[in-house]
Subunit: 150 residues, 2 copies
């Protein structure tokens, strides 16, 4: 079977995720304009929205909404893994921590480590790291994934 045009033969199913598996999901960057755009829609606190007044705020400048960090990790996870997996939706996320503010043009490296599975769901520790290796954010995300067809 040399060809797999539908992608189905190479799709990942529930059984294909094993505790301890690690995924490097690549680099995430947002521009100041992307930070402001997200904030205007979803989280218009001034230190996410206004580069000028943010200078006098708690971060000394504009930083991304924490929800944008979660969203950026999700995009990296989608692109690297879920796009070829039999996902059934998103059911739970836990223990979200933001340790390092995400500033314009700052590179973060997304990573996932597979944890012990929940019934019918793949659980991963979702992390963002700075290029220097500091943990910038972490959470645990559970994604329902279908079992491999018999």
């Amino acid at each position: 079977m040399a060809r797999d045009p539908s992608g189905l033969l190479s799709a990942r199913y529930y059984e294909d995720f094993r505790p301890g598996d690690e995924y490097d999901l690549g680099e995430c960057v947002v521009s100041e304009a992307e930070i402001v755009e997200f904030a205007a829609d979803w989280d218009p606190q001034y230190f996410h929205l206004d580069p000028v007044t943010a200078v006098d705020g708690p971060f000394g400048g504009i930083v991304a909404s924490g929800w944008q960090i979660c969203a950026a990790w999700m995009r990296a996870w989608d692109d690297a893994v879920l796009a070829r997996a039999a996902t059934l939706g998103l059911s739970e996320a836990e223990d979200i921590r933001w340790f390092v503010p995400w500033r314009p043009d700052q590179r973060l490296l997304a990573r996932a480590v597979v944890l012990e599975p929940a019934p019918a769901a793949v659980r991963v520790r979702a992390e963002m790291h700075t290029p220097e290796g500091t943990l910038a954010s972490s959470m645990v995300v559970s994604t329902p994934v279908a079992p491999r067809p018999a």
Copy 2:
């Protein structure tokens, strides 16, 4: 003191949030176009992105990314409360659960209940309900808020 043009006198500080306080944060609605736009940026799973193929997916139609539900709650919380509070950023979120998929033009009512505080942070149970009263999603969000100036 009849006037408060800066809003500072009426700002909410840490001490102003009391366990058991409840906030009705109003109604949230997203159009199909807004669901697709968010998905294209942050969570391009087909059941968030493509109204046609989503019909054959797990929800029988397009539904918003779970992260868009979190973001919509945050926007409601910002507009109703944080815009007049001495917030210092977002530190933690826990126990995110999505029970009911969010479909185009479906109304959800956002709500917050203040929990026992963490040190220097206001903790709330963040909920979305359907107009019929079904709990659609919930999480616990901690927001650092400055104490009232002496």
